[in-house]
């Protein structure tokens, strides 16, 4: 039973990270209807900025995460301005290819500067909390609390502020949003900035219990895609629930079924679900 609870905690950790990454992806999809293949690279760049500020500059962990969030948000906005904005009327295949181009470019640049080696970010919180027989490293607790409070902040931002409401409005009905005078450029830039910052924070939180390397974004990106297909492309609660589903199934599957194939579980889940219901689990209708 304790082992089971331990896996549930692991699943919660994984799920909250995946959820953060998937949230950014789903927000961007909601606004532009572009599957942003470069999102994984933004996550990776976020981890490297953290590494740079914390290990190479020797600054505080929280400062490193904030720096990563700002830099990656700026990078994300630049991508929107230079690439996705000019392609907004192009056939859908074009922006997918352009996104892949950004992904390849960012990876190559990072690899050129830092090399392909695996790197580690030390966690500033080494304590291990004990709840009965459960052990919980402080960093994992930090991930769970950090991720969910960020989700809460995002929720408040989207529901309670005017700029947040414009994002929701545009995701719900593009033409309607234009009719009431919402500036599409501003909303697109805001969305990309938020998505980039979420990816960077997710990377910064997860990096101390994981490794940092140029290809680290691939698997996370693919799982984030699985999540938003599960949760419905463009749906915010769907991304969070989907993230938890994938996180739990990976933690439990990796423990009870096979740890070698734990990365395959998410994809098998996707294949099975899309075979049965080609539009995803929680979607209301096909666009």
């Amino acid at each position: 039973m304790d082992l089971f609870l331990q896996q549930v905690l692991n699943g919660l950790t994984l799920g909250s990270i995946y959820g953060l990454v998937a949230l950014g992806l789903t927000l961007v999809y909601g606004i532009l209807h572009v599957p942003n293949f470069a999102h994984g690279a933004l996550y990776m760049v976020g981890a490297y900025i953290c590494y740079f500020t914390m290990v190479e500059l020797g600054l505080n962990y929280w400062f490193a995460i904030a720096a990563a969030a700002i830099v990656v948000a700026a990078l994300s906005v630049i991508c929107e301005r230079l690439v996705f904005h000019p392609l907004r009327h192009a056939p859908p295949i074009h922006d997918k290819i352009a996104a892949i181009g950004i992904l390849l470019f960012l990876e190559a640049v990072v690899q050129m500067h830092w090399g392909a080696d695996f790197r580690r970010i030390p966690t500033p919180y080494n304590e291990i909390l004990r709840l009965g027989d459960l052990t919980l490293p402080a960093q994992r607790l930090l991930i769970i609390v950090g991720a969910f409070s960020l989700m809460g902040v995002l929720h408040l931002y989207l529901k309670k502020t005017m700029t947040g409401a414009t994002i929701v409005a545009m995701a719900q009905n593009r033409e309607g949003a234009f009719l009431v005078g919402i500036d599409a450029n501003r909303v697109a830039m805001m969305t990309f900035a938020i998505a980039g910052a979420l990816a960077a924070v997710a990377a910064g939180l997860f990096a101390p219990i994981n490794l940092v390397y140029p290809a680290m974004g691939h698997l996370v990106l693919l799982k984030a895609f699985v999540i938003i297909i599960l949760g419905g492309m463009g749906s915010i609660p769907g991304a969070i629930i989907g993230g938890l589903i994938i996180g739990f199934s990976e933690a439990l599957g990796g423990f009870y079924v096979s740890s070698t194939y734990k990365d395959v579980i998410a994809f098998v889940l996707l294949v099975v679900i899309l075979s049965i219901k080609p539009t995803g689990l929680f979607t209301k209708g096909v666009r």
């Binding site: 599957p35 000019p86 352009a98 892949i100 950004i102 470019f105 190559a108 050129m112 994809f267 996707l270």
Partner: protein, 347 residues
């Protein structure tokens, strides 16, 4: 001028290219160059496959590199672990590519656009993970060495670079010929109709699913056979063959040459391969150049070299048409200048 342009598009040009490819090993002194050319031809075959599903049919298949790897692994496993000769293993690679492609196609082609691209991206990753983790079958991350080379006929020995080059060239010619036959047939037009609009194609009575699956299976057979040839020449393969990067390389080749055109895939593959060769240091960091290049291409030059050339020719012909018409009219009557002016403006 027009005759010169038509020459580039006519069959003479294709025969000329084939002739150039045939004399290439005779004029170059370096065996390494022949080897690079043979590898480029192998990739070009796979890119022709991608052109059918992505260029003609409009479905961005991101598992293409995975099917290439599957072809290579079928040949490798059959020849090394089961002692098969190369040719039966090569045929098995094509067959397996078709069967596997059919089953992946049945599931994935029910999805549209983004869902299809994401799904195939995941399929590509599953293929990679399976190759990497299923050690009993694929030798895992160690890879497979000593793959059997293609057996020669009589005096021809395909372990030599030059005979192998001609073998690959023959397959490439076959691949291009078949591509052309498909592209010019009703089937090719059907694929293009699907690319332009699913709904429109369906309203013309086109069976979407059947045609998409057909395009997908043809493309996976191309990829698997190219993979089989690759295993036969490189003779060592590892899970890296299934890496995404190869799919992205192929997309770059396709875009540079011209997506959905006949000679685009060949042109793109050759140009990029030789450019990368010319700057050896680029090999590892080629994506620093490729990435922005892909972005710039889709923004400013989405039809690639061949596509842009065809577009330029089309506009040229359209400009000339009213002029020719006016010429004809001037001959018959002199007083309808206004009308021809209008015709020119419309053009």
């Amino acid at each position: 001028m027009n005759r010169a342009i038509d020459f580039f598009l006519g069959s003479t040009m294709r025969w000329l290219l084939l002739g150039l490819a045939i004399v290439f090993p005779l004029v170059t002194s370096s065996e390494y160059h022949i080897y690079v050319m043979a590898l480029a031809f192998i990739w070009a075959i796979a890119v022709y496959g991608m052109n059918i599903i992505t260029g003609y049919c409009g479905q961005l298949n991101l598992a293409h590199g995975g099917f290439f790897a599957i072809g290579a692994y079928v040949v490798a496993i059959l020849t090394v672990d089961h002692g098969w000769p190369f040719w039966p293993a090569f045929l098995a690679a094509g067959l397996f590519g078709a069967v596997f492609g059919f089953f992946v196609g049945i599931v994935s082609l029910r999805l549209k656009e983004h869902y299809f691209a994401i799904f195939t991206l995941c399929v590509g990753y599953i293929i990679y993970l399976m190759i990497d983790k299923w050690e009993a079958l694929t030798h895992g991350s160690l890879g497979i060495i000593n793959i059997a080379p293609p057996e020669g006929f009589g005096l021809i020995d395909f372990t030599q670079t030059v005979p192998f080059y001609y073998l690959v060239l023959a397959f490439l010619a076959l691949a291009i010929w078949l591509s052309r036959r498909i592209s010019e047939s009703l089937l090719g037009r059907t694929f293009r109709a699907i690319r332009i609009s699913d709904d429109l194609a369906q309203s013309l009575g086109i069976n979407l699913m059947r045609n998409k699956i057909l395009a997908f299976v043809i493309s996976t057979v191309y990829a698997a056979l190219a993979g089989g040839l690759y295993a036969g020449v490189v003779r060592f393969i590892g899970p890296e063959e299934a890496n995404f990067i190869h799919t992205f390389d192929m997309i770059a080749y396709l875009l540079v040459g011209g997506i959905g055109t006949l000679m685009g895939p060949l042109l793109g593959t050759l140009i990029i391969t030789w450019l990368t060769q010319a700057v050896q240091s680029l090999e590892e960091y080629r994506m620093i150049v490729f990435g922005p290049m892909l972005v710039l291409l889709v923004i400013f030059f989405p039809r690639g070299l061949v596509g842009s050339f065809l577009g330029w020719r089309g506009r040229r012909l359209a400009r000339q048409a009213p002029r020719a018409a006016r010429q004809a009219k001037v001959d018959t009557a002199d007083d309808d200048g206004v009308e021809t002016q209008g015709a020119r403006n419309n053009a």
